[in-house]
Subunit: 150 residues, 2 copies
Amino acid sequence: MKEILREIGMIARALDSISNIEFKEFDLTKGQYLYVVRICENPGIIQEQLLDMIKVDRSTATRALQKLETNGFIEKQNDPDNKKNKRLFPTEKGEMVYPFIKSENVYSGQVALQGFSEDEKEIAFNLLQRIRKNVEKDWEFVKKGNKRNY
Amino acid sequence: MKEILREIGMIARALDSISNIEFKEFDLTKGQYLYVVRICENPGIIQEQLLDMIKVDRSTATRALQKLETNGFIEKQNDPDNKKNKRLFPTEKGEMVYPFIKSENVYSGQVALQGFSEDEKEIAFNLLQRIRKNVEKDWEFVKKGNKRNY
DNA sequence: TTATTTTTGTTGCAAATGCAACAAATTTAA
DNA sequence: TTAAATTTGTTGCATTTGCAACAAAAATAA
């Protein structure tokens, strides 16, 4: 069996590492760029949905978002229809950094897909999306405290 | 542009999260399983090569390996031909946990590729390997302190 | 040879990470 | 309607993480 998952791990760690270094310039510390992009693209999203998009622990998200709020990148608003939920919005400062994060991500995407035909890019995306859907089921299962059998 | 990199990030974080939870049972804390597998498969490897396989910071590797040595999973040996290098070997305890880590990884691989034909698995592997090779160049470049232009 | 550069490895901060264990609001079941 | 379960969010603690700044050995250049 080819080690597909190892390739994915290597790619993800390498890219995350690059992004973290490049976003220091905007006073974004480790991992924070992930939240900012998604909040800009989904204003009003709640934490629980966000963490599900990113696949990160609930407590990690809480603290990352606290810090982002303190540093003025995002703000939390109470949902008038649901006292439990807190809706997340980018601030002006958040909107300002968004294009930089986005273009860095686009550039990394181009680097990653160097030498790929349009067809290959399409195929890669579809296969990865299927893998992600397969994997996220188990992630939710295990995160809830269930045990996998293997 | 389809967000291939986001899919990869989601998959990697989800799988890593699952593995970390499942390996607590063997007293392996966050990320340590990555090192153990590779040392078992490449006994005598030095830290620098290892960290390049995993794509992690040098200091992170140092400390993860220190802890793995303290906890008896691996040992460091001085290279007689090169005083600078320290060769890494699994201990008996390390060899003991290896099959469990391996079978967990295999299982996750099966889950990830559910619904894939053999051809699709092969294609996915090849595409991912190409992406990894593209990305690791930039990783090394940026890690060395160089600046990308985009 | 000697000097310079690269490779390999370690520490000192300062920060993120995540499992537990909790709380409160909401939804579902009885 | 009330009770039980789920959803959403927060903290306490112990740990990993990684940029700097360093050191020593080795490889390369002069």
